[in-house]
Symmetry: C2
Subunit: 341 residues, 2 copies
DNA sequence: TTGTAGGCGTTATCAT
DNA sequence: ATGATAACGCCTACAA
């Protein structure tokens, strides 16, 4: 028979005071005599009493918990981001309920509701998939609905709405810059690879197309390849591609690694015969051989910043100015390109 | 002014019944007339009423939430495992609070207490680091203390104690087998690389030593190298190693990739001049070039099994037989070895 | 079958 | 400075 945890009544009795006084001591009220406080504190320590969070939550409507939605935690970019977010939250006395929603609308909606039903203090949507394609406002309706209940933060995707705060990368600019560099260095047949039609993917594609146009290269459909987000999938897709190409810009590092595998299989030398640029600058870049040039989208900074703004909203009420923060990216050159860092 | 959520009283009033009846309908009691049930259900649906989890928790002492402790979620092995666990829990109506404790005892303890204070229904310790080195029982005392409150499950590490359920791999056997194969194929100077002194690491090392002994190779200190868990750290450690070696068994895939990078830097051909075996069979194996041979420790199976046992303990009371489950590993051959799958 | 009332463990508002 | 008590929203004997 497991004896139940001591509660505030037990402490009050042991200390010979009322529960109100114990509560005051716990919450650091100044309306307690030094003597009483000390006495009560001693008992609390001795019994290692901690208040029941359910009872607290019932009255206070909060459990200092935030919900994190992520399509797939096993993705290296996502897990790195979650690590940063969790760290930030933990440092601020919050902890997080993690929910892996997958990429389908149904799952996103269901997991959002689940989190909401747990009365989290805020919601973080991690990944551009949550922003949808930007074509219809319907896609992101569940996010706005959630924002009616708690502050919502989106990372890597912009969703417009009340009580929604977004952090996004300067994706278009980043891809534009690197594509332009590749072309100026002599590449005439670059291709862009993506696995999704998310807002972020569209931005990258836009940057890619703009660079091509500016340089007088036709950006027809054969320059934009839709692939699945797996190494072999990308490799095989490239192996069976008819049109030739001399540079690859990938929407993420996994896809880029697939391109590297293609190069190996097709015996094309990197970066001489073919140049490859990844995206996210994730843990994979150093595993790859040769090591992968990639666009660093500043995961750490983005996550830290999001947590900071969240705490501000949560503690100060909603007095955060910027609802949309844009963080620019850096190109990091490694072995798969030769265009100058 | 955000109107507060409807509660059970509102529903009761709208339906013209008492809250007890609403509660009965919510919990599927059979002591409700079909007519009443239908009427109440309609209102519940219409108002999309969900019970307040805090109030539920207060009385029931549960919020259908389990805590997951992990040293570092950005590690590919850990994040893959968490993905499986979260999936399993979600399918069973539980969700999870994720806590990244780091590798230090202080952090492990603090995060454990934090989770416990949230009244999670169970605790999962993911990773061999939580089992300690096995030298002193003191190291794992906080786990036993936690187990006094809720059932505890450890993955990849064995901790003895009441209310503690462990799943571990046949690490010793797996390393023994693969090391022996390497030696039988002619390797005479294998080395074992690890970054930790965890129970699991010790088991692997034991298997390594046994294979050497059986084959008449001296297992002196130069055959066991302690490295940091980073690609470059391992590469540089091997580059500066004086004694020669012709095979590497690594305690995880990251370390193995470091060894591959060493081979590249030292211009040693894989697998002819040097053979490398990783551990975990994680997402990195396919990124690596050549692709990494690795020991598959069955992450999915392990996680599924753990969730299954957990649900059993949670729902049926603690009627689970096996407190310690051992899951054996498979060697998966790829490009860094040539000893036969 | 349905309703009433007590309990779960806090916090906060009153008095004192 | 301290204590009594209502309120938070639900579940569940016990009554009717």
């Amino acid at each position: 028979m497991k004896k139940d945890k001591v509660n505030i009544y037990d402490i009050a009795e042991m200390a010979g005071v009322s529960i109100a006084t114990v509560s005051r001591v716990m919450n650091g009220s100044d309306k307690v005599s030094e003597k009483t406080r000390k006495k009560v504190m001693e008992i609390i320590e001795r019994e290692s009493f901690t208040p029941n969070v359910f009872a607290q939550g019932l009255g206070l409507h909060t459990m200092h918990t935030v919900g994190i939605l992520v399509p797939d935690i096993s993705d290296p970019y996502m897990s790195a981001a979650v690590a940063w977010i969790e760290k930030g939250l933990s440092e601020n006395g919050y902890d997080c309920i993690l929910s892996c929603s997958g990429f389908e609308p149904e799952g996103k909606q269901r997991h959002t509701e689940m989190l909401l039903s747990k009365h989290v203090d805020a919601l973080i949507f991690l990944g551009s998939t949550y922003a949808g394609s930007g074509k219809s406002t319907e896609e992101t309706e569940y996010i706005r609905k959630a924002a009616a209940q708690v502050p919502v933060f989106t990372i890597n995707g912009y969703v417009k709405g009340d009580n929604i705060y977004s952090s996004v990368n300067g994706d278009e600019e980043a891809v534009y810059e690197v594509t332009k560099k590749l072309i100026l260095k002599g590449r005439r047949k670059p291709v862009f690879l993506t696995d999704s039609g998310s807002y972020s993917a569209l931005k990258k594609r836009k940057g890619f197309e703009r660079a091509l146009r500016e340089c007088g290269i036709e950006a027809d459909e054969s320059t934009k390849i839709h692939v699945e987000n797996t190494i072999y999938g990308v490799r095989d897709a490239l192996l069976s591609k008819k049109e030739s190409f001399d540079a690859v810009i990938a929407a993420n590092d996994i896809i880029a690694v697939g391109a590297v595998k293609y190069a190996t299989a097709a015996k094309r030398k990197l970066p001489e015969d073919l140049e490859i640029v990844g995206y996210n600058n994730s843990g994979l870049v150093r595993v790859c051989e040769p090591e992968l040039s990639s666009i660093d989208n500043k995961t750490e900074q983005m996550c830290r910043d999001t947590v900071k703004r969240m705490i501000a909203v949560l503690e100060n009420g909603s007095t955060v100015e910027n609802k949309k923060v844009v963080i620019s990216c850096d190109f990091v050159e490694r072995g798969t390109t030769d265009i100058g860092g």
